[in-house]
């Protein structure tokens, strides 16, 4: 890399700073002071809002607290045994896994196609980008209510008027269709956001690489498959991570679109945990379920990122 004047200036500044620090480096107290001055507030906030609640939450899983009483009777591992006996928890976990798998595929597929489409240089692509991104700006609850109207009223009137069988009854009153309604809305909500990340990835592929590929005689498809896609692995990793974690934790959309119904058939795991802790007032068991969910999501997220990182290439 070239030795630029600006870099040189920076270096001289750094050495001046080093001199300052070296003066103070001798005592431990001074070291602590420096650390606290730079990292103190952030560390304090991190401990206060993340570490302490996490530890307290883990502690609560060993009690049979009802959420309000003064006593929190210690019950050991009972809550975890209870979790393994809670059939509905495992059912809703399996349902959530299905939901995550299907929606993550749809979100990323559609987002990538959209990104490809709006970077291809068609007319009005900036307008289209903004348009596809808009659904993401609407909050999950409002979104759910809008789509509830679409599925329960608009499509039904449409279906009965034109005699289309699949729309003639509300999708939300059938367990299978309600599940797909969730997936459709989720895809609609997130694909615009993921599209944005993919656009950044596509634009970041150096022009000289694609040019070189075309000079070497690669077709458009070959260039995409062997040059563009490998360069975009970081985008895929981040998009998959975001969509997996968001879909796992879905609650607002679940509540406002289907309310977990019909007959509790679309109750995702986050909603089940909430109901366990706050409605059934089994706070300890609910907390234990939340912890198990956290561990599962963490494992999936970390695995996905490590596997994805291995595929990254340098230009």
């Amino acid at each position: 890399m070239a030795f630029s004047p600006s870099l040189f200036r920076k270096n001289s500044k750094i050495s001046a700073l080093k001199g300052m620090v070296q003066m103070n480096e001798k005592t431990l107290a001074a070291k602590t002071k420096t650390f606290l001055m730079f990292a103190g507030p952030a560390v304090f906030v991190f401990i206060a809002v993340l570490i302490v609640p996490l530890i307290y939450g883990v502690y609560l899983t060993f009690t049979s607290w009802d959420g309000i009483s003064n006593n929190k009777p210690f019950v050991g591992l009972n809550n975890y045994i209870e979790v393994f006996k809670d059939k509905e928890f495992w059912n809703s976990l399996v349902l959530t896994l299905k939901y995550v798998a299907v929606s993550v595929v749809f979100i990323n597929l559609i987002a990538f196609i959209l990104a490809f489409f709006v970077t291809s240089g068609i007319k009005g692509q900036n307008f289209l980008r903004a348009g596809f991104f808009t659904p993401n700006l609407i909050g999950g609850v409002v979104l759910g209510f809008i789509w509830r109207f679409v599925f329960a009223r608009a499509l039904v009137s449409f279906g009965t008027a034109f005699d289309i069988d699949i729309f003639s009854t509300s999708w939300l009153s059938d367990p299978q269709k309600a599940f797909w309604a969730m997936i459709i809305v989720t895809t609609w909500q997130y694909s615009g956001y993921m599209m944005l990340i993919y656009i950044a990835g596509l634009m970041g592929v150096p022009k000289d690489l694609t040019e070189a590929a075309s000079i070497d005689g690669a077709t458009g498809f070959q260039a995409t498959r062997h040059v563009v896609l490998p360069m975009m692995v970081p985008s895929f990793v981040i998009c998959l991570f975001l969509s997996i974690t968001r879909c796992f934790m879905v609650y607002d959309l679940n509540l406002s679109l289907t309310e977990g119904g019909p007959f509790a058939a679309t109750r995702m795991v986050a909603m089940h945990v909430y109901k366990k802790a706050f409605e059934a007032k089994q706070y300890g068991t609910g907390q234990a379920e939340a912890l198990i969910l956290f561990i599962i999501v963490a494992i999936i997220g970390i695995t996905q990122i490590t596997l994805g990182k291995r595929k990254e290439v340098e230009a």
Binding site: D66, G260, K275, F278
Partner: protein
């Protein structure tokens, strides 16, 4: 220059830390500032009691503006300031009160649901048994645990079959007297008449789990013998497995009525697609004649109804004998209960809170707040003000005559959603009566431990 930067950094770090700390104590800080502003706003406060200020948690969001108005009036009259705040949007009273106690900042007066009082009152509420209003209806509709009265019934809500009298009379050409319908067969006959006169579907059934689970199914417990004690005994039997639901007479008559109503349901083609607002419009506009719901539904009905339409509520009739209490009495109970905190409230605050409850019952201004401003059905015999809405008037008629089935607050917190889902399955034809009975029994058996 360097110094300036350092100062700026310190200030930035300081504000950051302060903001974080303020986040922890947000509740007290905001309540202090708002109470001090309210006390400075009115100069008329009396010297003697002006130092006492109390807080109240309101869990009926729709009457929040009226209660704030009431607090102003009360301050002028007595000098005691009440800060009224409501549950956060979408949060249940149980969640809100749990957060408040966890934060060490509980309200002096907490308006909660009956089940919440049962779970927390012994630990956190003062004894109200010796209050004057207890003998005027307070002990009937308030909640007692082991003979001690812990709560003040803020209002009465009742449920049953809402009827549109005007449309029934128009179609049948006869006067409609709800007291003459005393059995399921009589109701069926009337519905057939309505169908013959051109009304396609005279009945509306909600699909909401709270309506089916907490209201329809709970009738089975409450009408075992019409008392809360009877309902408790019955659910205890379900827990132990000694009660067999499918052989239970009341369960079967109530489900017989449900089966009959299902046939006439306006949402019959796709019962799980029912829409609450549309349901209200059906019965208000005379597209249908009956709706299983309670007097709170007036909020929605009033959006669609015109003033000349007469409406009311009648009991959920069943095919038992005509003098069976279930065919003559309405399920009505104190649905919002107010308790006074004993953990953080000082004796002066507790006394001020008691005085305030007395004011609601015995002072004209207080009575007017309950009945005229908030349009509630009061639980107290001495209040003679006319209730405003027709459904409330119906309820009041049954309450005054003593024709009510006692409310049962012993259902666990997830009863309505879990068994509401089972009732939805039954409504949609996914399970039969035996299947429903076994799901209900399984739910209660799980509560046994």
């Amino acid at each position: 220059m360097k110094k300036n930067k350092k100062i700026a950094a310190i200030i930035a770090a300081g504000t950051f830390a302060a903001a974080a700390l303020a986040g922890c104590s947000n509740g007290t800080a905001s309540s202090e500032s708002s109470s001090s502003s309210s006390s400075s706003s009115s100069e008329t406060s009396k010297a003697s009691s002006s130092s006492v200020s109390i807080t109240m948690l309101n869990s009926k969001m729709e009457i929040q503006p009226q209660l704030e108005e009431m607090a102003k009036k009360y301050k002028e009259q007595t000098g005691v300031s009440i800060e009224v705040y409501s549950t956060a949007n979408g949060a249940s009273p149980a969640e809100t009160i749990a957060q408040k106690y966890a934060a060490g900042d509980p309200p002096t007066l907490a308006m909660l649901d009956g089940t919440d009082i049962l779970t927390i009152a012994k630990e956190k509420a003062i004894d109200l048994s010796s209050e004057k209003w207890a003998s005027d209806g307070g002990s009937t509709y308030g909640i007692s645990i082991d003979g001690t009265l812990y709560s003040f019934p803020f209002c009465i809500e009742g449920r049953g079959l809402i009827y549109n009298k005007t449309i029934i009379e128009k179609l049948t050409g006869k006067e409609f007297n709800p007291d003459s319908i005393k059995s399921m067969d009589a109701l069926k006959k009337l519905m057939d008449e309505l169908v013959a006169a051109g009304m396609e579907h005279p009945m509306v059934i909600n699909k909401e789990d709270w309506s089916l689970g907490a209201h329809y199914l709970a009738t089975v417990y409450e009408e075992q013998d019409g008392t809360a004690a009877g309902a408790y005994k019955f659910t205890e039997g379900l827990k132990k497995g000694t009660e067999k639901l499918i052989e239970n007479k009341r369960f079967n008559t109530i489900m017989d009525t449900f089966d009959m109503l299902k046939e006439y349901n306006i949402n019959k083609a796709d019962p799980m697609a029912a829409d609450y607002d549309l349901n209200a419009s059906y019965v208000a506009e005379g597209k249908s004649a009956f709706w299983f719901n309670g007097n709170w539904a007036w909020a929605e009905i009033s959006e669609y109804v015109d003033d000349s339409t007469e409406m009311g509520i009648m009991p959920l009739v069943q095919n038992t004998s005509e003098d069976d209490f279930a065919n003559n009495r309405l399920c009505a109970s104190g649905s919002k209960q107010v308790m006074i905190d004993k953990i953080k409230a000082t004796p002066e605050q507790q006394q001020a809170a008691k005085d305030f409850l007395n004011w609601l019952v015995y002072d004209e201004a207080g009575q007017s707040v309950l009945v005229n401003d908030c349009s509630l059905v009061p639980a107290f015999k001495n209040i003679t003000l006319e209730v405003k809405d027709p459904l409330g008037q119906s309820i009041k008629k049954y309450v005054d005559a003593g024709n009510t089935v006692e409310g049962f607050n012993g259902c666990p917190g997830d009863h309505w959603s879990t068994l509401g889902a089972s009732m939805q399955k039954y409504l949609a034809g996914q399970i039969d009566r035996a299947g429903l009975a076994s799901e209900v029994e399984a739910y209660w058996a799980k509560q046994a431990k």
